[in-house]
Amino acid sequence: MAADIFSYIFDTTTPPSPKVPTRFIPSSFDAHDPALQALPRPLTPSWGSGELLLRHFDSQGLMMRTPIFWQWGMSLHAACRALGIPIFVNEPENVPVGAMALKRSGVDTVVTENKDAAAFASYCMEKSLPLPKAWVLVHRAQNPDWRVAAGVATSRVAQEVHIFPGVPILVQCPFLAESQATRFHFSKEFLWEMRGDEVYATARKDDPLPLKNVRIPLMLQQAEHCACGAQTVTRI
């Protein structure tokens, strides 16, 4: 069996050495993970899947509530600039300022993790503050539970699955988001191949992380085609 993406990265004694200028992101969602390494990513940040969703939601401003150390802000900002909407960075620990921002700053869409979204929505309801018009929820690939919390599902919700912080592997188009399904498309971050229920990723040509046919440790199965015309997958 081919090495999976984690053993590929963490079993090497030195981090992959990029040959081109890069950005760096953490290899772990946990800032205190002793195995945390710096992963090289393409120098120009982008969040293509999010840009489509924000356009579809007609978002007027995006609030980032994912941890700052993920270094995902530059990618979110690039999507916001492409659409001509502002970004507001709200530390996950600072719920009151984020919740009040929905009322007073003009931002109406929140990107965060599922657990944080539930707590944030609960705070907004408790304080009689507006809920976000739309959410983009990030699931960690390793997390066994990708269900959307009840208090969150009352707004429009799109979901993504990230293998590393800010690296989506499974994304939703506007059709999937509107259907509130837990079906996904493969992201354009990598080239994908399914062999049975196993999934393999290969880096694109300009990716400084030289992945070639590394296994993603997720069991997936193909599902029906989406209204957008593309294949979808679900978790087994």
């Binding site: 502002p86 709200n90 300022v97």
Partner: protein, 417 residues
């Protein structure tokens, strides 16, 4: 510094119908009044000033200058006296070219400024390296990335520096740093000496900015910081016009060596501006150092403190006078106090120590009182002083009796050393 002609254009733009109603409301213009025209310095100085309270009264969409797409980033800053936060809009502007005389920025930079996207954009314009954003609540993870990226410069909110210096020294990264720009508050001599010792190869400069001012830096450094006082000497940034007024009467203070006054800021980010400022009273007292700086022209100044010392920034949040009063009242104590903040050496680093002068009830142990206050004193909405002690940000709170010499009034009761 902006010219009278530029200020005339600014006033006209800000009072034109169909833009933001903020200044038309402030100046009492009716729906049929034409835009204001100023034709002299006297008519400029007759314009009313405004303060943060004016910003908290309206939401950002109600006061922003359209089009909305010009807003790159929204920032939040704390309101005053328990008011909601102020949300400010920023267009992309670059007032940081002064940096290039000190460093080339070809390698990576680490930043804890609240505007990382602007900082990255500026680095791109200057052909610089990537930016690593410092997560002040998880600094070690950000430093690990900065090390991999080959960081050699930093843009930091001052109180974040002690959080990262120890870790950078441990990694041997401190000697790689060639440039540090600090902002956010006034550095003490003690803290500067610590910076100097921790980062021996760095040029250290200070800028003066505010999240309320989209053209920040409001002021750029006249020279790098050195142990020679004053530590931080500033000049007006290129998109700003600065004035001084008497904090009590509001009358103009003439620009002469040594003059002190309450700072008024006017600022315009140009065609992209989302909220230009006209005579904004930011609440900082400054002192003129040279009325005509021989090196840069114009006047140079230092910031000497808050006009109304009602809060102090500390790692993890803000200590507010009204919050201290609330806590004292909750403990059924008189709400007169004096709060002193110190930076104390601790191990190889620094920690914040708060000494609170209070009027304890007779028979009360000051140690017990300090413990009780720390337990309920909020530094931010969900963060107490006690939690900050437990997480290693602060030294335990110290209470001492408020002496008669301290009971004069409420005007100076939050002191930074």
């Amino acid at each position: 510094m902006m010219t009278l002609s530029q200020l005339q254009t600014l006033v006209h733009k800000c009072t034109t119908l169909g833009t933001s109603p903020f200044y038309r409301t402030l100046y009492g213009l009716t729906e049929t009044d034409p835009p204001l025209t100023i034709n002299s310095w006297d008519s400029w100085r007759a314009l009313p000033t405004f303060e943060k309270e004016h910003l908290t009264k309206v939401t950002l969409p109600e006061r922003v200058f359209r089009p909305w797409k010009n807003i790159d980033t929204i920032l939040a800053s704390s309101g005053t006296s328990g008011k909601p936060p102020v949300y400010s809009s920023w267009a992309l502007t670059n007032g940081y070219n002064y940096r290039l005389q000190y460093h080339n920025f070809k390698r990576a930079a680490l930043s804890s400024m609240p505007t990382p996207f602007q900082q990255q954009w500026i680095l791109e314009q200057q052909g610089g390296g990537p930016l690593i954003v410092l997560d002040p609540r998880r600094p070690q993870a950000s430093i690990r990335l900065a090390q991999a990226a080959g960081v050699d410069s930093m843009f930091l909110i001052l109180h974040h520096l002690p959080l990262i210096a120890e870790e950078m020294i441990r990694l041997g990264l401190n000697t790689e740093i060639r440039f540090i720009e600090i902002a956010g508050e006034i550095s003490s001599q003690t803290l500067f000496k610590y910076m100097r010792k921790s980062f021996p190869n760095a040029t250290i400069t200070a800028i003066y900015g505010s999240s309320d001012v989209e053209t920040s830096p409001i002021a750029i450094p006249c020279r790098p910081m050195s142990e020679e006082p004053p530590l931080a000497v500033y000049h007006a940034g290129e998109h700003t016009y600065l004035e001084l007024v008497d904090p009590v009467t509001g009358h103009e203070v003439a620009i002469t060596d040594g003059a002190e006054g309450d700072l008024l800021i006017s600022a315009d980010a140009g065609a992209q501006a989302t909220f230009p400022l006209i005579r904004y009273r930011i609440g900082d007292m400054v002192r003129i150092l040279e009325s005509n700086c021989p090196q840069h022209g114009g006047w140079s100044f230092e910031v000497i403190g808050r006009t109304n010392m009602d809060f102090l920034k500390v790692p993890g949040g803000i200590l507010r006078a009204d919050e201290v009063e609330r806590v004292l009242r909750e403990l059924q104590l008189p709400d007169r106090f004096e709060l002193h903040r110190y930076e104390r050496s601790h191990g190889t680093g620094f920690k914040t120590e708060i000494v609170l002068h209070v009027q304890p009830l007779s028979g009360t142990s000051l140690d017990t009182l300090a413990h009780d206050i720390a337990r309920i004193l909020r530094v931010s909405a969900n963060y107490t002083y006690e939690r900050g002690v437990n997480e290693g940000l602060y030294l335990p709170l110290v209470c001492v009796p408020l002496t008669n010499a301290h009971k004069a009034g409420k005007t100076i009761r939050m002191v930074q050393h």
